[in-house]
């Protein structure tokens, strides 16, 4: 059995009467692309928020590389190698694309209590940033202010920022959100490049993309995993069909 990078054990999160994550257990193996699908309100984004440390679960544990990270703050999780992208594009709009990624590199290049040398002139930050931009195909847009990038490009920049932190595990919260078919295809190509070198936990609505990318898929309904398996197994699963694919896809 492959090494388990991320272990979720009996995770529960309630908002008042609503149980967004319900006794959820799930393992992500090293090197796989693991997709989580589920209808609206299934608790996908709540799950990502708990994994990245922006929300605290009510009970249960999160293990990352064997270490219990349930109580750790977001920035510490990032330092351990857990990176995330956001469903709603979350970048530094007033910085250039390269500044955005360089800041992500800087976050993992020791402390930043360095007050005198100009950050923009430091090759140790700029070189890895340019590489990360190239890996998502944005190298020609490096000097453009992030606010002036197209929606698709901003989504690619999101991924570049996550990649630039050299993560062991990449949490992608709907990377194709709001994309047209063409942009979506480009994003699938970008993500395919990270297959094998990175472990990806992907939350996505775009079924085509999920079935093209994922090694394993978990179906989430009302905060509970009703099935986990290969894309083919999920397609064939009658319960999944009824709960999700039958209605929406």
């Amino acid at each position: 059995m492959a090494e388990i990078i991320l272990g979720i054990e009996r995770l529960t999160k309630r908002f008042g009467g609503l149980t967004a994550t319900n006794d959820l257990s799930l393992n992500v193996e090293k090197g796989e692309v693991h997709a989580i699908i589920g209808p609206n309100g299934a608790g996908k984004t709540t799950l990502i928020a708990q994994l990245s440390g922006l929300l605290a679960p009510d009970s249960g544990r999160i293990l990352f590389k064997g270490q219990d990270i349930t109580a750790l703050p977001a920035h510490t999780r990032s330092a351990l190698g857990l990176a995330r992208s956001f469903q709603v594009t979350s970048i530094f709009l007033n910085f250039t694309a390269e500044d955005n990624v360089a800041l992500a590199v800087q976050a993992h290049a020791g402390h930043s209590f360095r007050f005198v040398k100009p950050a923009r002139a430091q090759a140790a930050l700029r070189e890895p940033a340019r590489q990360a931009l190239a890996s998502v195909g944005l190298e020609h847009r490096a000097a453009v202010v992030a606010a002036d990038l197209s929606h698709g490009e901003q989504r690619q920049l999101e991924i570049a920022m996550a990649i630039a932190t050299n993560p062991t595990l990449l949490l992608l919260d709907e990377p194709m959100a709001g994309m047209g078919p063409e942009e979506s295809t480009r994003m699938v190509e970008v993500l395919k490049k990270f297959k094998g070198t990175h472990t990806l936990l992907l939350i996505e609505h775009d079924m085509d993309a999920v079935f093209k990318l994922a090694d394993r898929i978990t179906v989430l309904v009302y905060g509970t995993a009703i099935a986990t398996g290969t894309p083919d197994a999920i397609r064939a699963n009658p319960e999944v069909k009824r709960a999700y694919l039958g209605d929406e896809a």
């Binding site: 922006l54 709009l93 800041l103 360095r114 930050l125 929606h151």
Partner: protein
Amino acid sequence: MAGANVVRTPELRVSLGDPRFVLLAIGAVVLALFPYFGHAWGQTYLVSLVAKMLIFAIAAVSLDLILGYGGMVSFGHAAYIGLGAYAVAVFSKYGVDNGYLQLVAAILGSSLIALFIGAISLRTSGVYFIMITLAFTQMLYYLGISLEPFGGDDGMNTKRSDFSLRALGLDFTLNDNLFVCEKRVDKACKVDDRDGAAIYYAAYIALIASVWFTRRLVASRFGMVIRGAMSNPIRMQAIGFPIYRYRLTAFVLAGAICGVAGFLFANHQQFLSPVYMNWLRSGEIMIMGILGGIGTIYGAVIGAIGLLTVEELLEGYVGKDYWQMVLGPLLVVLVLFANRGVYSLIPHEMRKVPMFVVKFALVIAGMYGFIWLMSKSSPILKIAGNIPHLPLYVIFGSMLVALALRFRQDRRAGHG
């Protein structure tokens, strides 16, 4: 995303041919020579006034560091003016005039209090942050009022800090008549305040140093972190920055720089008053930044000089008791029309400079006309000014409106 509206932090590095560079260089040279001509023409009051502007420019620059680059809207920055001034007063009351010691105490004292205030207020954001910083400063203000040994409400006279190096065997004193004028024999030198130049140059050098330091700081790795935390704090945490400690450090650095301004201000006034820490003072420092242009550093200097000039004119023309009633609405109008501040209005190309100068002159003339008009309508103002505290309410309300206008614009642009 409304991309076109996003607030872009202007590049600080300006090339030699850039009008902004030329104007800044001219400004620096004029300010450097100002005491010489001021004294030669017998305008010692003007030299003293400009020295005060330079001191407040330091305070405004330090506020711009956290406000313009860190998004921390501190409505309590005058606290550090007060703390710097108290450092001078406390030492001089007990007979310690050593300026080096006082300066270190001013910096340490301001840093420590900034650490305390920042540690608590930075756990909040938005309006709560504004109100908590305001509340802490008002607490210090009332503490100052109740400190009878240091004059309480009335304040107390302080001596000039002594920067002599006699201890090292050098018979050279900075606070004595440093200025060239001493050696001259023409009439101008008979004015009694010859050493006004010493405090002027101390402020000038401190201002240049704080502008340089702040400029370096915001471009450094540290600077990128606080700017990122202003733009998108959630994302900063997700990519691995513990932003709280960086923002707190910036808050403390700004407090320390402003403490130096307070130290200089006590030396300038040769007087200490708890009023230095009043909310009005905090508001003024913030308005200086907003008028000059937040997040530009140089703008804070322009704003400090501009606001104090307008205040001086209003006090002279309109009257001591109710000039604030005119200043308030004027601020609101200025923020409405020059929302991004004066510095951002300066063109980037030489060929656009003449038009800019013409427009600028028109605005100045318009303001001067407005002030003149107000001075003519002073009977009405006099009646309104007799309503208890009305001028203060007007200026406070105007400051809040100006703030709201300024930051509403930012939010709309997806900046905060």
